[in-house]
Amino acid sequence: MSNNATSFLEVKDLVVEYTSEGSVIHAVNGVSFALERGKTFGLVGETGAGKTSIAKAILRILPDPPAKIRNGQILLDGIDLLTLEEKDMRKIRGRRVSMIFQDPMTALNPIMKVGKQIAEVIKLHNKISNKQAEAEAGKMLELVGIPAERFNEYPHQFSGGMKQRVIIAMALACNPELLLADEPTTALDVTIQAQVLEMINKLKRDLNTSMIMISHNLGVVAEICDDLAVIYAGEVVELGSKETIFDRAAHPYTVGLFSAVPTLDEEKERLVPIIGLPPDPSNLPAGCHFHPRCPWADEACERESIPLREIAPGHFCRCIKVSAQEN
């Protein structure tokens, strides 16, 4: 997959580190994946696995310091975003690549009218007057199902779901080619989650936008994504099409994730949680980072780092045990 030259977005060997109080936190450790135009790619994993860091690394909006992109390439249409001048990068942010943030409650400037916040990004990337930008912003509001009259209201006057719509409107305002959706529904009520998700999906289809959907929620991923990667401790542990992963989950962590999720269609005796805690990212276990929690682990797993290997066409997995089973 990584050598597909036609890829719209290609992330190669991305390494992100944070320095905190003297210790180095390995947030992203050599992640690679690719995304075709118009497709949706899912990044799945527990909180703190490094998914958001990947997305922010693509936009280059990681807080620096403490975060640093140590290595890797992020190719958008063949151009490496990581080597771009900041000035050129600014032209990409919000215009070609935009992002929907996890928490709509805090992602909006509390003392700025919502309409203005949308108009701001439009004005920034288009040579139009303020008035035109505001008219555009009104249209965007309508598009996400908010009456344009609420243009002059402030974020605190909106509910969580409405705020997320505003953020979506903002993200889509310049008709970006790539949308990074970072757990867009996590902070929302369950009833609203479906609506918002559906809306994102629809808009994305209508505007033919590529998307990276970040979620720890397998249900969400199942609904939207074409391909997905399972992230554990900053590494891709399994990667493949949605169907492959959902039907033939290979990595013990992926398997664990599935068994921790209650499903309506399958009667399971009980949920099996993954035992133990995610590893301390500043002090990752040697060998397979998952081995302390892995039911299959043996000495071999601790010995050396495990490469990501293609266990079936288009299905990659980072587990020495698995490679033996499959194929």
Binding site: S20, G22, T47, H216, N217, A260, V261, L271, P273, L277
Partner: protein
């Protein structure tokens, strides 16, 4: 969809017990806080062991050797009465530090109690207490201190009360704010539903849980109090001679600032060092205690 809540539930377990350790660790990683802490410790040691450190008694006069610049015998020179300035500074740390500590302690005990009551009970109690605080706060602090110290007369305890009085408002407001912040949290409601007495709830639950901001505020205000004490001495109020309080030493020597600068400079440096140290420590504590400021 309950997704991975099982995982996150486990991760929260250790959070509480290690909080203190976390604060200490963060503090130890902050160089300016450590410098502040070291200076404060040195000052405290100096105060405790003053008789061992000071080469002369602080009130030992030598009228034949007055206003001498620093020399080998008197490393910081002598004052108008021929007393050794270094010895006076060393002994002075006892008064300046204890005035700082005790005035802040006094104001914080009263302020925290009032703040806790106001925040916990709300309603009328809150209104009354906060109006009182408003009243005190609308009289500028130094004026209040001047007026009170005139009413009470000079002396250590009186000066302490005069200086502490104005600082009550800050402790009270901080306490009230943090009590309001935790009032509706589960552990409190659990305690209430367990029929614990109000006093017990306030002392066992409310105060310990709102301690952090008050502690930071208190550390910072020690410096301010020492400064205000100097200001009081400037006006001629405060501690009685021959007590070598630093502020009094400065204001006593300020007319000599040009001919005998050492008489003002050395106590000035020590006041500055002390205030600086407490502020640095306070800044560090604030950063360490504030979860939001986590890097």
């Amino acid at each position: 969809m309950h997704n991975s809540s099982a995982i996150t539930a486990i991760t929260q377990k250790n959070k509480k017990q290690s909080q203190f350790a976390v604060v200490l660790r963060r503090l130890s990683k902050n160089p300016s806080a450590i410098i502040g802490l070291i200076v404060v410790c040195l000052l405290v040691i100096m105060a405790i062991f003053a008789p061992l450190i000071a080469p002369y008694p602080y009130d030992k006069q030598n009228l034949l050797n007055t206003r001498k610049p620093p020399s080998a015998e008197h490393i910081m020179g002598t004052d108008e009465l021929g007393r050794d300035i270094f010895s006076r500074i060393v002994y002075g740390s006892r008064y300046s530090l204890s005035i700082g500590f005790l005035a802040v302690l006094f104001s914080n005990i009263i302020g925290m109690t009032l703040g806790a009551l106001a925040g916990y009970f709300g309603g009328l109690v809150d209104d009354i207490i906060m109006r009182l605080i408003d009243i005190i706060q609308s009289i500028p602090g130094i004026l209040l201190a001047i007026a009170i110290s005139v009413v009470l007369g000079p002396g250590f305890i009186n000066t302490l009360i005069a200086l502490g009085f104005g600082a009550i408002t800050m402790a009270c407001r901080l306490m009230r704010a943090s009590v309001l912040g935790i009032r509706h949290q589960e552990f409190l409601e659990a305690a209430i539903s367990n029929n614990a007495s109000t006093f017990r709830i306030i002392t066992k639950h409310v105060i310990p849980n709102s301690f952090a901001p008050v502690l930071v505020g208190a550390t910072m205000s020690i410096g301010n109090v020492i400064m205000s004490a100097a200001m009081l001495s400037f006006i001629g109020l405060g501690i009685q001679p021959p007590t070598p309080e630093w502020g009094a030493m400065i204001s006593g020597g300020r007319a000599l600032i040009r001919s005998c600068p050492w008489m003002v400079t050395f106590p000035g440096i020590f006041i500055m060092l002390t205030v600086l140290a407490f502020n640095m420590l306070g800044d560090g504590l604030r950063d360490a205690l504030d979860p939001k400021l986590k890097k």
